[in-house]
């Protein structure tokens, strides 16, 4: 028997989708979390409702790494269709559990193999309604694993009770199956693999949640008043959670609502409605994913130009086009930055974890209303739909910023003097009034056509130019309001790594690995566009900058080159994507490759290289 490997391995379960395995897998995840061990789980599911192979992979990491581990240590095979592949995927020395009704030859001797009589044990479960049999069957493998890996039964019970909202019957039914699985394993299996769980105390202060739920709750704490949306994976659960949490958190004795959530007929209408509401003075939002965002293009331009606050969540999936609807990506960044015809600048927030999904959920409204502009929040499928350990959500530490809004009394105070697009404060942000304002000088006519400082239609060249330059001023002002990057400077490091979004933990892990080989690096996680002053400082502080991202073209790298041409020669992209969540191993590989390119020194060569590399490889 190998030397024990404690709290540092991965578990992957292959099942049939629609078979209810997510309950089982979440139980494992939560039980491990409850044992105080850092853990993360990723659902790799098909774009399909029922019957196709699906995988769930759990990373147990005593060091707290949450990125995907691309080695498979413990594999559970419940699906004949993916059996061969699952078997092959087990890392040498790993453990392979499988439902013994699957009749395939198991021809590997370099791993521990454990057949499980799932069907048999299931048959012994009494009174299980037929539609729940598959789900219960899955609990049996959880039971087997619990014994074999050393999962705490009380932790498991906590997870099961949480899942079934403490409803006695399902809890009992599932715990029974689970226990039977564990008992069978105790009686019948001999452990030959090294993987073990042992309680720690690293998760006590944390919660576990997914980013979409966090974003929804954050939005409710942000005072959300209007949301319109259209169903799309992986964003749907964000909008669907809004109603749940609005009902929970904003109930009124008279049963009436301080909000409306509308399922629109498509994404054009969804953003249109949100813009109408934002223009009307509501904290308004929509949420979507790539294809929906593409459809929102024309309206995004209107909101930018008519200066309407609205929040647009894009839970990124892999594109272009319909792409892989159930696979993650960071591929919408350049598109969002330049969305819409004509000149425009998008304000973009880039949450890096579930906690920030909550935080940006409420902050996005403050920023949108302060700046009177659409605010895009780019999350991704991995962050949005998977369960992550997280710091508990923190109640907003600032009051709502409703921006420069003038009501009747304000207009009276200023003797009615006001112009919708006047730059009174020289920060590019004008004052606005809201429909319903009864002051006789309050009203104005909003439009996507050229307009002067008083919102009057104008085709005058100088007026057009003045207005567009004010919008640049406003974008500059935005730097004061958007979240600053998170920076870890490292003394003596020459290499600075830049990343954003959900890849942070995997990048951290890759950096640790590189540091172990002697390559020290600083790190900055960018959290917004426009880039704030800290961004340029970080880039200046290092000799070589590598931008890590989960897309093909190195999109953040492109935007940084645009914004800082003088620094562009020392920027390199480490971009990769195939739909799977980031892993430390590809990040490390891509960083090293990117650093290689610095060895070719002269500007001339470097230029060629970059353009060639772009072409040939990235």
């Amino acid at each position: 028997m190998n030397k024990n490997v404690v709290n540092d391995f991965s578990i992957t379960v292959g099942t049939v989708n629609g078979s209810g395995s997510s309950t089982a897998n979440n139980t494992i995840l939560r039980a491990i979390f409850k044992m105080g061990i850092p853990v993360s789980g990723k659902n790799l599911f098909p774009s399909n409702i029922e019957g196709l192979p699906t995988w769930y992979t759990i990373r147990v990491s005593k060091d707290g790494y949450l990125g995907r581990d691309d080695r498979q240590h413990v594999v559970v095979a419940m699906n004949p269709a993916s059996f061969a592949r699952d078997l092959e995927s087990v890392a040498p020395g790993g453990a392979f559990f499988y439902a013994d009704d699957i009749k395939f030859a198991v021809n590997r001797s370099d791993i521990s193999v454990y057949p499980m009589p799932i069907k048999h044990i299931l048959r012994e479960q009494a009174g299980i309604p037929s539609e729940l049999r598959n789900a219960v069957a899955n609990m049996i493998y959880v039971g087997v694993l619990s014994h074999m890996l050393g999962m705490d039964m009380e932790a498991i019970r906590a997870a099961v009770e949480f899942h079934f909202k403490r409803r006695e019957k399902p809890v009992a039914m599932n715990m029974k199956a689970l226990q039977d699985g564990a008992d069978w394993a105790r009686a019948n299996l001999v452990k030959t693999d090294p993987f073990r769980l042992a309680p720690m105390n690293k998760t006590g202060s944390l919660i576990m949640a997914d980013g979409n739920t966090a974003a929804a709750i954050g939005s409710v704490y942000g005072g959300l008043q209007f949301a319109a949306w259209y169903p799309i994976t992986p964003a749907s659960s964000l909008a669907e959670s809004l109603t749940d949490y609005l009902e929970l958190l904003r109930p009124r004795p008279d049963g009436k609502h301080t909000y409306a959530v509308v399922q629109a007929e498509d994404e054009l209408a969804a953003l249109g409605m949100a813009i109408g509401a934002g223009w009307g003075g509501l904290r308004a939002m929509t949420s979507t994913s790539g294809p929906g965002l593409s459809l929102m293009t024309e309206f995004a331009g209107l909101a930018y130009f008519a200066e309407v606050p609205v929040v647009i969540w894009d839970v990124q999936r892999i594109g272009p086009s319909t792409g892989l609807p159930t696979r993650t990506s960071q591929g919408d960044l350049t598109f969002t930055a330049h969305i819409g015809h004509g000149d425009s600048h998008s304000v973009i927030l880039l949450p890096g974890n579930v906690n920030e999904c909550f935080e940006f959920g409420w902050k996005a409204f403050d920023i949108a209303e302060r700046l009177q502009t659409p605010v895009f929040v780019l999350s991704d499928l991995d962050m949005g739909m998977n369960q992550w350990m997280s710091k508990p959500f923190q109640y907003p530490d600032t009051q709502m910023d409703r921006g420069k809004t003038l009501w009747e009394k304000d207009l009276e105070a200023r003797g009615g003097k006001w112009g919708r697009y006047l730059d009174e404060d020289q920060d590019g942000i004008p004052y606005r009034t809201l429909p319903g304002n009864q002051h006789p000088l309050a009203s104005y006519f909003a439009r996507g056509t050229g307009h002067d400082e008083h919102a009057r239609y104008s085709e005058d060249a100088a007026t057009w130019h003045r207005n567009m330059e004010r919008l640049v001023r406003k974008y500059n002002t935005a730097k004061k309001f958007v979240p600053k990057p998170v920076i870890h400077n490292v003394k003596g490091a020459k290499v600075g790594i830049i990343c954003f979004g959900s890849t942070e933990s995997a990048v951290q892990e890759a950096r640790d690995q590189l540091a172990a080989t002697g390559l020290k690096s600083g790190m900055m996680r960018v959290r917004s566009l426009p880039f704030t002053s800290q961004v340029v400082k970080f880039i200046e502080a290092y000799d070589q900058i590598v931008v890590v991202e989960m897309n093909r073209d190195g999109q953040l790298h492109l935007l940084l080159c645009q914004e800082f041409p003088a620094l562009a020669p020392k920027l390199r992209a480490a971009a990769y994507q195939d739909g799977l969540p980031a892993s430390a191993s590809w990040i490390r590989r891509e960083i090293l490759q990117a650093l290689e390119t610095f060895k070719k020194k002269s500007v001339k060569k470097a230029a060629k290289k970059t353009s060639a590399k772009k072409g040939a490889k990235k």
């Binding site: 319109a228 509401a277 003075g281 904290r283 996507g448």
Partner: protein, 351 residues
């Protein structure tokens, strides 16, 4: 039949009961072509609002893109307005009406705006019964882009630059009806009185009120035999009834009419519509009859005008969504942000 002006006599002739003059309802000078049907409709919107004693600040105007969609600039200067994107007026209006559901929403669109690019939003806003007066200024062409056929152009229409239209027209009223609109009317810009009365009733209506108003484009589609021309409209208009709107029930004085000659529709706000039958009796509360009438008109090339369908009692969209009475855009942080205590509870709800 005479209509008593509300509270006539108690205020000077030239101000209405809210103390405003007609000029308080006007907009900027029009930049549309002289004679454009859209201008007459703007005038009737002005007249209707003035006569109904509406406070302009209580109105909000919406439009898409097109000559028609420019019109909100030409009436009710004191109202907020949003000239949005081509075909997208309905969604903008929807969101905005949630901001202050106590406002009166007036939307102006064109046939291109609503029946071509905007078909989807047009149908869906009707389905939701948004509280909106939805006027389609229907001229059968794209005026602003210089006269291409729109989807309401009749089959066989021949225009100099465009050739012959090969497709059957979209019937705005029929579309509204099958989308379960709760108020559907057709009129003709040349019939100012009817346009005005219908606008008044549409304003009184709760929920969507679709007004398909044939509004000639004098520049690009006003040949005598074109179905959207002044000449054709004048020659073919077939009113379903003489239509009158009474803001207050008490004021109705119809001395010379027999009950059999007329039909009365009560609106939820206490106002009343009186339909004086012309040739035959038409019941605009009967959907089947409305369908039949429109189909008959289509087959026979009649320009039927008047109130085609009304269902006065159905909940409007903002009612369906059960909003608090205060306009949402006047709510404050305390109404919107859950209390600090709730945070711990929420965290506890996570695992």
């Amino acid at each position: 039949m005479t209509q008593t002006l509300p509270m006539a006599g108690t205020v000077p002739q030239h101000t209405n009961t809210v103390g405003l003059e007609r000029k308080d309802y006007i907009g900027n000078p029009t930049t549309l072509c002289a004679g454009c049907g859209h201008n007459s409709i703007s005038s009737q919107i002005i007249a209707a609002c003035y006569e109904l004693n509406i406070i302009p600040e209580k109105v909000v105007k919406f439009s898409g893109i097109g000559c028609s969609s420019k019109s909100p600039t030409y009436f009710l200067n004191r109202a907020f307005g949003f000239n949005s994107l081509h075909g997208r007026m309905p969604s903008i209006a929807t969101g905005a009406m949630f901001a202050d559901h106590t406002l009166l929403a007036v939307g102006v669109s064109g046939d291109g705006d609503s029946a071509s690019i905007g078909m989807g939003q047009f149908k869906h806003v009707i389905r939701r019964n948004l509280d909106l007066v939805y006027i389609v200024e229907n001229n059968g062409v794209y005026g602003l882009t210089k006269g291409q056929f729109s989807a309401t152009a009749e089959l066989g229409l021949e225009l100099k630059k465009q050739g012959v239209n090969e497709y059957l027209p979209v019937d705005i009223c029929m579309e509204a009806l099958v989308s379960n609109a709760t108020f559907v009317a057709r009129s003709f810009a040349g019939n100012s009185k009817q346009v005005k009365e219908l606008i008044k009733a549409a304003i009184a209506h709760k929920g969507i009120a679709v007004l398909d108003i044939i509004s000639p484009c004098v520049t690009f589609n006003n040949k005598d035999d074109s179905h959207h021309s002044y000449a054709w409209g004048k020659a073919h208009e077939t009113p379903l009834h003489e239509f009158s709107y009474y803001p207050h029930r008490e004021e109705i004085t119809i001395p010379e009419m027999q009950p059999g000659d007329m039909r009365q529709v009560d609106m939820p706000d206490g106002s009343t519509i009186i339909l004086k039958n012309l040739e035959s009796s038409y019941d605009p509360t009967n959907r089947m009859e409305a369908l039949r009438k429109l189909e008959e008109a289509r087959v026979n090339n009649w320009l039927i005008t008047g109130l085609i369908y009304v269902e006065p009692q159905k909940a409007s969209f903002t009612e369906t969504m059960k909003l608090v009475d205060t306009p949402l855009n006047r709510l404050e942080e305390k109404d919107l942000r859950p209390a600090p205590e709730t945070m711990a509870k929420i965290n506890a709800m996570m695992f």
